[in-house]
Structures are given as structure tokens and as C-alpha cells.
Subunit: 107 residues, 2 copies
DNA sequence: TGTCTATTTGGCGAATATACCAATTATCCA
DNA sequence: TGGATAATTGGTATATTCGCCAAATAGACA
């Protein structure tokens, strides 16, 4: 694998890494329903606000969300329209995995 | 976030984590072109065969690929048809990010 | 200006992921 | 059976990620 190819996959992996955490997936799905401020999201997640803020920063850094300051609050929103489709893909994989697990038990 | 919801996002994150490595993304894309055996993939990746084998095990464990033994070789193939679409999504995000970076420099 | 609320940043310990080497397993074939 | 090749597994050192606390930053408003 040459250097250029490796760089390309590293760039893709940066985005995939941003998706690779349950809290961040939850944040993305919540944001797919509309803009939310950090304190709302923090309440839903139930973690320290600094933790949520860092997760949001990771999503922003990957280009998955954008933020907008309104007074003392910061609202985040999805930047990438294909995120909801990704969730569909993840769900279909989970469903197929569950099916296989069932088959291996019953058959 | 209640326990059930958390479990759901953890399950999704398991799959996302499997995607979150440049070598594994490369393997998936290569497998999207057809079955490949571990030694072929190892040669392409340019890492130790044990490293590649472990990456493939992670992909298999996530339900993204399946394996098939043929004699002394093991062939892997994609199990999930939506993987190529995922790559398209990753690429579109990268393109949008590059665009924004360009705008922030020139405008 | 001083205070309050919302958010981000710095830093640290704990947990997780990664890559390689060495050893093991599995299959083929002489 | 014994040797050769392909692949997986175990072990370990290193690197990265994670979550919280504490501190810093920013805006609103009296």
C-alpha cells in the first residue's frame, strides 16, 4: 500500500473514529431531529458537560456537525445529510447479526 | 438515557469501531471487489500476517465479513451489502470538509 | 464591574486498542 | 509420519481514548 493510498484510508478512518462511540452515535441521532444546545444534550446523555462538550468537538472536528452560538448557549446541528442513512446501515447489520445468532442456536 | 437505549447505542458503536481503522477500511474496500485470502490481503497491506488476521477477526466479529476455509487458505468476503454505500458517505464528508477548508482559506 | 450560566480546555488515571514476535493449529502433500 | 505453508492465538510494550474534576473563557444582565 503506497503512501497516498494509506493517507486516503487514514482520512476516512478519522471520520469513522468519530462515529465509534455510543455517546457520539446518540448525539448524532438526536441532532438528526434538529438543533440542540449542549446543556440539553448533556441532560439526555447523563454525563459531565465537559465530557459531552468533548464528544461534540470530536464530531465537529470530523465535519459531522456544526455549531452556532446563540447568546451563552451553543447549538449543534448535523452537517452531513448521509448520517441518518448510516444509522440505517448499522441497524441492518445488527439485524442480520441477530438473525445469524438465532440460526446458530435454533438450527 | 436509560439502560436499554444505552445498550442499543453500544451495539451500534461496536460496528462503528470495527470500521474505525485505516487498515480495516482498506480491507473492506478490497473485499468489496471480491473474495480474498488472508495472504493476498497481507501482501497488499504490508503488515505482519498476524496483524491482518486480527483485523479480519474484528471485522468478522462485527458481522461485516464472513470467512470460508479452502484447504490451507481462508477466504474472506463482504457480508454486508451496504458497506460500499458507507464508503460513499465517508467520501462525501471528506469532500465537504475539503471544500470548507478551501473556503476558509480563500474567502 | 461583578456575578451567574453555558461551554470549553487542561490534566490525570484508567481502560482500550494496536503491532509485532513467538508459539500453536490446521491442512496439504511427499 | 514429517515437512511446508497459511492462519490464528497469546503475550507484551506502546499509544490512544475516555471520563471526570478543576480551571479558564464567554456572554447576559443587574
Amino acid at each position: 500500500m503506497d503512501r497516498r493510498t494509506r493517507k486516503r484510508y487514514e482520512a476516512r478512518a478519522e471520520i469513522a473514529k468519530a462515529l465509534a462511540h455510543p455517546t457520539r452515535l446518540f448525539l448524532l441521532e438526536e441532532l438528526s431531529h434538529g438543533k440542540r444546545c449542549v446543556c440539553e444534550l448533556t441532560e439526555m446523555v447523563g454525563a459531565d458537560i465537559s465530557t459531552v462538550s468533548k464528544h461534540l468537538a470530536i464530531l465537529k472536528n470530523a465535519g459531522l456537525v456544526q455549531d452556532e452560538k446563540r447568546g451563552v448557549q451553543v447549538f449543534y446541528e448535523l452537517q452531513c445529510p448521509c448520517i441518518p442513512k448510516m444509522f440505517g446501515c448499522l441497524e441492518s447489520i445488527l439485524a442480520a447479526n441477530a438473525e445469524r445468532k438465532y440460526e446458530s442456536v435454533s438450527g
